[in-house]
Amino acid sequence: MEHTVKAFDEDITRLRGLIAQMGGMAEVAVQRAMDALVKGDDTLAEQVIADDKKLDALESEVDKLAVRIIALRAPMADDLREVIAALKIAGVVERIGDYSKAIAKAGRKIEDRKKFGPLTLVPAMGEIAAEMVHDAMTAYAARDAVLAREVITTDEKVDNFYESIFRNLVSHMVENPSTISSAAQLLFVARNLERIGDHATNVAEMVHYAATGAYPVDSDF
């Protein structure tokens, strides 16, 4: 995208840089939240919770910049799409950070980690969710509509995972009433991962929209 007004070009580039930065932070947040949960690492969990503030600050920076671009430069066509998509993606990525924070918080409440078998159920799901966020952000960086579509189709896997974990946890609760509170926390974790998957899908849809001007068909957006 070459623009006659250099300042405009710089603004758009900066906007994309900010979104990418947010995406990188969200990826790391998901990964760390899962690590903290699995290992019972409270320091790491604290860090995830603290880092979420930075993500919020970045989101408001994106908001300001996007509004300024629209107000001052009156972008048209694909430029306008770019800015609108950036605005929406920033909001979604910020939500991913919130879910990571929620996972980190839930992780601290799980008791007697060593004897709590169901804990081994979630890492695989976390892996897929984190992969989706990563791919969605890669698709954004490369304006890659094909990769974006792939992310959207992966969402089904996460949903299926959630279903099976849900059933597993419920039967575990029935058999081991003493671990109900831990199992409930884990249920929240699975739920949050499922939401992270959905939000990664939203980012992918936005990427598709910014790149092609159309939302991908057969999506329930």
Binding site: G17, Q21, G24, A142
Partner: protein, 398 residues
């Protein structure tokens, strides 16, 4: 260097001070004057030489095209950033990060928080980032600012090194798997025999007992190999000190490995007077493993040649070559890995533990030697071991 010949003011000042000093010390004025003149003239002559290297430095920015050409074909991914944007990405970088990154904000290419911290610094630094391009990969980033808001970022992939440390974990997993397989059949057959209450016919019973015996031997072989491997590894860093005359060692071990039924396939060509510092048991084991492998994987009617000679650069050179199917090139780098098999079924059937070459490699390393494996598919395999000869001079030609 705007002035072509700036006057060497400090030097001249020194000359003047020196001459004044001479005057003050009560020397003749003409002497002081001569010294001053000589001093000054020699300084003038010295700077009259043109500067050895005349760098024509254009004011300000680097020449982009030259810079781009310079780094383009480097195998290491390199980025040149200018005011937070990627000005140049070489071929390797474009392959890793995608061609779209040129002209983009550097955060679009490297979005990991640690990488962003690095790019925001105003001094040179290095950081290791996990999950930069793909999830779980490991990259070492080095950034060197060049001034004028420009910087070079170098990316080095460290994922492979991390894999090595993981291979130790794999080893334990593999070892337990390898141990469990023979155990499973031993237990299975023994249980069957126990349950039948002696009602099995003799032929079946013998067959079962044969299997149990074979698997037990395999298990023993495996445990022996594992133990010698761990022993060799433990003393990897202390070089053996015994003087070993190689010829009898190689001869005995090779015959030992062949056994009476395969002895006719063995061709020995062993030179005398090859003396190395070594551990006799381990050297025997090395030869046994190599000869056994060659006899096992070479064609059944082809000979196996074992050559011991004085190689170049003060090395003893042991060559074991077979004529057989050979090994496909893609397997060669992994042959010395524990439990690596090019064809798992055949290797197990012939009683291999998957540790033979790993042991050889460790023995060679302990003897400060080198191990080379060459193979041509359809022609055969040649293993060359080089171990330094004793170089204390007393080793004669005997």
């Amino acid at each position: 260097m705007e002035h072509r010949r700036p006057l060497p003011w400090p030097g001249l000042a020194l000359a003047v001070v020196g001459s004044l000093g001479l005057l003050i010390l009560g020397q003749q004025p003409w002497l002081a004057l001569t010294v001053l003149l000589l001093w000054g003239c020699s300084l003038w002559l010295a700077i009259a030489e043109p500067p050895p290297v005349s760098t024509t430095r254009t004011n300000g920015a680097f020449n982009r095209d030259t810079m781009s050409e310079l780094i383009e074909h480097s195998g290491t991914p390199l980025l040149l950033t200018e005011k937070g944007r990627i000005a140049i990405a070489n071929q390797a970088a474009r392959e890793v990060l995608g061609a779209h990154i040129v002209g983009q904000d550097v955060r679009v290419a490297l979005r990991h928080p640690d990488a962003i911290t690095l790019t925001n610094m105003d001094r040179a630094d290095t950081t290791t980032v996990r999950g930069l391009v793909r999830r779980h990969d490991i990259w070492r980033l080095s950034r060197q600012p060049l001034g004028d808001g420009m910087a070079v970022i170098e990316l080095i992939n460290r994922t492979a090194e991390a894999d090595i440390s993981r291979s130790h974990t794999d080893f334990v997993a593999n070892a337990s798997h390898e141990l469990r397989t023979p155990l499973a059949s031993i237990i299975g057959y023994a249980e069957t025999l126990a349950e039948e209450n002696g009602e099995t016919d003799v032929a079946t019973r013998d067959r079962f007992l044969g299997t149990i015996l074979r698997e037990s031997r395999r298990l023993k072989g495996l445990v022996d190999d594992l133990m010698s491997l761990s022993r060799i590894e433990a003393e990897k860093h202390d070089q053996p000190s015994d003087r070993i005359d190689m010829r009898p060692v190689v001869e005995r071990a090779a015959r030992d490995a062949a056994g009476p039924e395969r002895l006719s396939r063995l061709e020995l060509d062993l030179a005398d007077g090859i003396v190395v510092r070594g551990d006799q048991q381990q050297l025997e084991q090395l030869v046994r493993n190599l000869v056994d492998n060659a006899l096992k994987y070479g064609a059944e009617d082809e000979p196996v040649r074992v050559v011991l000679e004085e190689g170049q650069a003060g090395n003893a050179r042991l060559t074991v070559s077979d004529r057989g199917e050979g090994i496909a090139p893609e397997h060669l780098p992994h042959l010395t890995r524990r439990f690596y098999r090019t064809d798992p079924g055949r290797s197990r059937a012939s009683g291999g533990t998957g540790l033979g070459l790993a042991i050889v490699k460790h023995i060679v390393e302990r003897h400060r030697g080198r191990l080379d494996i060459e193979s041509k598919v359809g022609r055969g395999t040649t293993v060359v071991v080089r171990i330094p000869l004793i170089d204390d001079g007393e080793q004669g030609l005997s």
